[in-house]
């Protein structure tokens, strides 16, 4: 699938918006206005590239906590992110029950995930199984970190998807770290794609800073899955530019030089260069995007700050489906 110039610019815009929202979250945390943030900075290209290969709103997604850019592509609103950061009632993923960035968005076919890493993988496989049973042509995307591929949860889900040839695409966002533990301590192979090969499904490793390369890899995988040719695992290599979360201090386990070195491959930079090279992204266009993003982020923060918290007693439900309130 060749992307139109307009779509390519839009993809850059999604990355930029995600980055500015994410940066604002860090600022809010430093200001003491929010309790927690877990960041997707450095991972936007892989997420946007994957999202744009899906039929968004039609296909299904089982994401993980770094997927802000992916969520934005699926229609998650900046103000919804800010509501979630502040634990406000209107927050659509959980009504303030879950920590921020623990996504769920029914209207976009995004299923709810927990903090227990890799548990979403078998849900994706189950969704794939149901799609196949119903003879539909949807696909499901599951994403996770590279460290999480050490979990038996991941192995069982991928194995099952391969055995049953299900329309599942596993995106491994290899940001080189699981909190402080480097990827070499997670796997004895160069890439999670190699882990997949032993399970009998296609494993693809792709440069996760190049949104268009990721998109290309996903487009192929989605096409195969949609036409009944089974699952693919795509590992997108990238670097986690921020600490693991707002509770982490990454100076305790990696050098500033290492981080600075990797910032040269910051996906915003890499893709800006690509689009500039192709004559699509001009200085004025970029300026326009930046001011639009700033305005959206400001408005989102303002909205969320004024939004009400849930009432304490709302914590009592809905434990069971019968208690779900539709107000």
């Amino acid at each position: 699938m060749t992307l139109s110039d307009e779509t390519r610019l839009e993809m850059y815009w999604m990355m930029l918006l995600s980055r500015r929202l994410d940066e604002r979250a860090w600022v809010l945390h430093r200001q003491g206005k929010i309790a927690f943030h877990i960041s997707g900075i450095g991972q936007e290209a892989a997420q946007v590239g994957a999202a744009y290969a899906l039929r968004r709103g039609y296909d299904w997604v089982a994401p993980y906590y770094r997927d802000l850019a992916l969520m934005l592509c699926l229609g998650y609103e900046p103000r919804e992110f800010m509501l979630s950061l502040m634990g406000k009632r209107e927050e659509p993923s959980s009504g303030g029950r879950q920590m921020p960035s623990h996504w769920s968005l029914r209207r976009a076919n995004v299923v709810s995930h927990s903090a227990v890493v890799a548990t979403q993988c078998s849900h994706a496989t189950g969704i794939g199984l149901a799609i196949k049973m119903r003879r539909e042509d949807k696909v499901v995307l599951a994403s996770l970190g590279e460290g999480s591929t050490s979990q038996g949860e991941w192995y069982e889900a991928v194995n099952w998807a391969a055995v049953h040839q299900l329309p599942v695409i596993f995106l491994v966002e290899n940001n080189q770290y699981a909190i402080s533990v480097p990827v070499e301590k997670q796997m004895a192979v160069p890439s999670a794609a190699d882990r997949a090969c032993g399970l009998g499904l296609r494993g693809v490793a792709v440069d996760g800073s190049d949104v268009f390369a990721v998109h290309q890899a996903f487009t192929e995988a989605v096409e195969l899955a949609r036409s009944g040719k089974g699952p693919t695992l795509i590992e997108a290599k990238m670097y986690r530019i921020t600490p693991h979360s707002s509770d982490d201090d990454d100076r305790t386990y990696r050098s500033r030089e290492e981080v600075e070195e990797h910032k040269k491959r910051d996906p915003l930079l890499v893709n800006r260069r690509i689009l500039e090279r192709d004559g699509l992204l001009t200085a004025s266009r970029l300026e326009e995007m930046e001011s639009r993003a700033k305005k959206m982020v400001d408005e989102a923060v303002q909205y969320a700050e004024q939004a009400p918290y849930p009432a304490a007693e709302e914590a009592a439900y809905p434990v069971y489906a019968e208690e779900v309130r539709h107000d």
Partner: protein
């Protein structure tokens, strides 16, 4: 009416639900061609095909996890765990995922699924084919925990479980699969509601609380006690979670004495919840301390026959406990 076995009642329930609702499917180890190691799914593979009676990989966490995914998508999975002893690999999916899905998504996502597992000892199964696991799950809001004691309830409760919009842990007393027989009408639909316990025998001297295989024994012991002039009321708890406190308290307020029987280990077992319920809600009605007759606090049921019998409560042990409590 026709008399059928417990396992046949379970098979019929699944057969009827598969026929009624095309979203229903079965997934587990050996459930297909083999018809389940206990033959609970026998004939269903032939009748409904391999897409609706799925032989899964040998992988419990994904049997449940895949079930959850399918349920999120709108299906109605019945997941079979071959023995309750092997449910622990799936504990993560049951407790962290299925149980919390509705709450954590503020009701946007629910998990209508049944997890069936044969449980319990007395069948020469040793440590890893005899365990009772109900206490782990009866501690988890978001789950429903059901244990039938007879074919009628097994069929009616399982059919209700399949239709329930929540995850239901359905534990089947495997020793009773062929031993426990009962009348089950074959020409009408049976649905037994999940939630209420049932007074299975009226009595005035003491209340005996049990479920599953132990309820079967409890009725036998109560019968013997009646011959000795002790009038025992037996309550089949059958839905362990959420707890039906009202039925428990109503019975104890009437009899003033409570005996709780389960084969699961004593400490931290389900009986502790029943005892606490009574202590909080019927303290002044009690004429004797609450008594528990349970499996001892050893890791699990040993294999060798004498040791197994030492572990398991049985009608004689229950009768003895009834006598002691009645005499208090």
């Amino acid at each position: 009416m026709t008399e059928i076995t417990l396992v046949e009642a379970i098979r019929q329930a699944m057969d009827e639900e598969l026929a009624r609702d095309e979203r229903v499917f079965i997934v587990g180890e050996d459930v297909g061609k083999r018809g389940g190691v206990f033959r609970a799914t026998v004939g269903l593979f032939e009748k409904y095909g391999e897409e609706r009676v799925i032989d899964s990989p040998l992988a419990e966490l994904s049997i449940v996890g895949v079930g959850i995914g399918a349920a999120l998508y709108g299906m109605r999975p019945i997941c079979e765990i071959q023995f309750a002893d092997f449910i622990y690999p799936a504990f993560n999916q049951i407790v962290s995922e299925a149980a919390k899905m509705c709450y954590r998504s503020n009701g946007e996502w629910t998990v209508p699924m049944v997890i069936r597992a044969p449980y319990g000892g007395g069948i020469g199964g040793g440590l890893y084919h005899s365990q009772s696991v109900e206490a782990f799950f009866a501690h988890v809001p978001g789950l429903k925990v059901v244990i039938p004691s007879n074919p009628y309830d097994a069929k009616g409760l399982l059919k209700s479980a399949v239709r329930d919009p929540n995850p239901v842990i359905f534990l089947e007393p495997k020793k009773g699969y062929r031993l426990i027989r009962g009348e089950v009408p074959q020409d009408e639909e049976i649905l037994v509601p999940i939630g209420p316990a049932r007074v299975s025998r009226q009595g005035s001297d003491l209340s005996l609380f049990a479920y599953g295989m132990m309820h079967y024994y409890a009725l036998q012991a109560a019968q013997k006690a009646a011959e000795e002039g002790i009038d025992v009321e037996v309550v089949d708890l059958r839905t362990l979670y959420p707890v039906d406190r009202e039925t428990i308290l109503t019975s104890v307020r009437k009899t003033g004495k409570a005996l709780i029987v389960h084969e699961d280990n004593l400490s931290g077992g389900y009986g502790a919840e029943v005892a606490a319920t009574i202590a909080e809600g019927a303290f002044t009605d009690l004429d004797a301390p609450v008594r528990r007759l349970c499996g001892p606090d050893v890791p699990a049921v040993p294999f060798s026959h004498p040791m197994q019998e030492w572990f398991m409560p049985n009608p004689q042990k229950i009768l003895q406990a009834i006598r002691e409590l009645a005499a208090f």
